[in-house]
Subunit: 220 residues, 2 copies
DNA sequence: GTCTATACCGAGATAGAC
DNA sequence: GTCTATCTCGGTATAGAC
């Protein structure tokens, strides 16, 4: 379910259908409208963070009024939550956490592939980086989401590594939890530098080099 | 935080910042007030980010009105800049980038010491993490600061590593630039997880373990 | 389902008295 | 140097017409 695609299709469809009564035409059906709003909101939250984004701006880009937008999402918070859910769904297509490849090396190489994919998706990466930074504050609406995300990711990766240890693929003295946290930290930290200064950072290559070195170190 | 304590530390920073109001004021009381405001602002920006912080709240905690605050700092932006300068000055006491220890290993161990220090300073760490995340956006008032900071840090560390290579201490095939970026990324990424969930992360130990492994890998 | 209109609030900044 | 008062703007959310 690619929402971007849906949004594009909607734009043309609604323009052609034009089921508005009265002076303006081009009203879309509810669900398509929602998808379009969600996609724009995803971009805006990524570019300006939660606090830096206004509903009016999103509404404008989605070609309705701010009040109209609030018919679909009753509050800004609710919109954010929906965006985070969308992002998670998109992620799940790329990397199924509940079904990581078998063994330590395949798991780490899957992460390399993910970073390579991300290097072509600055918008999505930025949404994550900006919101996670904001969400460090305990009372931020995305705080719980960010915590939950890290817990899920770190235990998933740690478990995969632990399996590698048990299979004799990785060294018996490996601290799987710490290693998983380090790998995630490297991903996030490189993303930050890459977003700030894309010219100076070949994110995918630098991450791959890190994983290569790591594998040499932890392989049995 | 103790305002008078910080007033001393601030001396250089505020002189460098230059508030441009020249000769006419009594510096004794003026600077103490400024220092107090700066410290509170540092906490608030760290807790809520730039956009999430209001001058009124800072003023209230500093026990004056918002208009009174704006007598010392003519705008919110100016206050942020002063806070960033203060932070840099505090950092410089811990780690003099223009005078890193000689050689690769001593440099990396100095970073370990820095992380150990940071693990006892969540407020400062959070200021950095929150603002850097926010500042990914190109039009954020701290964007230039963040870029500059990374450039300075990465070239300093890379240069130190390169010296280690030339001295035969580190492997000749080391990519000093990439390695410096990785080390910074690890610091930032671990900070993020630590701030979100302090219980689950022994930041100092995890970073030290990373550096230990790295040294084994890159030593000649 | 979308609109217009508006209530309501909080922000940053300025003017001018003391 | 600090205050009160005020301006102006932009934000979220609601009410009610169509």
């Amino acid at each position: 379910m690619d929402a971007t695609e849906t949004a594009k299709r909607t734009a043309t469809a609604s323009a052609a259908t034009g089921r508005g009564r009265g002076r303006r035409q081009g009203y879309a059906t509810g669900d398509a409208r929602r998808a379009r709003i969600l996609n724009i909101a995803l971009q805006e939250f990524g570019e300006n963070g939660y606090r830096g984004t206004s509903l009016a701006r999103i509404a404008e880009r989605a070609e309705l009024t701010q009040a109209g937008l609030l018919h679909h999402f009753r509050s800004k918070q609710e919109l954010l939550t929906a965006v985070l859910d969308l992002r998670d769904a998109m992620d799940a297509e790329r990397l199924d956490l509940s079904n990581l490849p078998d063994g330590g090396e395949p798991t780490l190489l899957a992460l390399v592939a993910l970073v390579e994919h991300n290097a072509r998706q600055p918008g999505i990466v930025q949404l994550f980086t900006v919101l996670t930074g904001e969400a460090v504050t305990t009372d931020h609406p995305a705080h719980g989401w960010a915590q939950e995300r890290y817990r899920l990711l770190s235990t998933s990766i740690a478990t995969a590594l632990q399996h590698g240890v048990q299979a004799g693929e990785l060294r018996a003295d490996l601290d799987a939890t710490a290693c998983a946290q380090q790998v995630m930290a490297m991903m996030d930290g490189l993303q930050l530098q890459w977003l700030l200064d894309p010219e100076r950072m070949d994110m995918a290559a630098t991450f791959r080099a890190y994983i290569d070195g790591l594998l040499k170190q932890i392989s049995a």
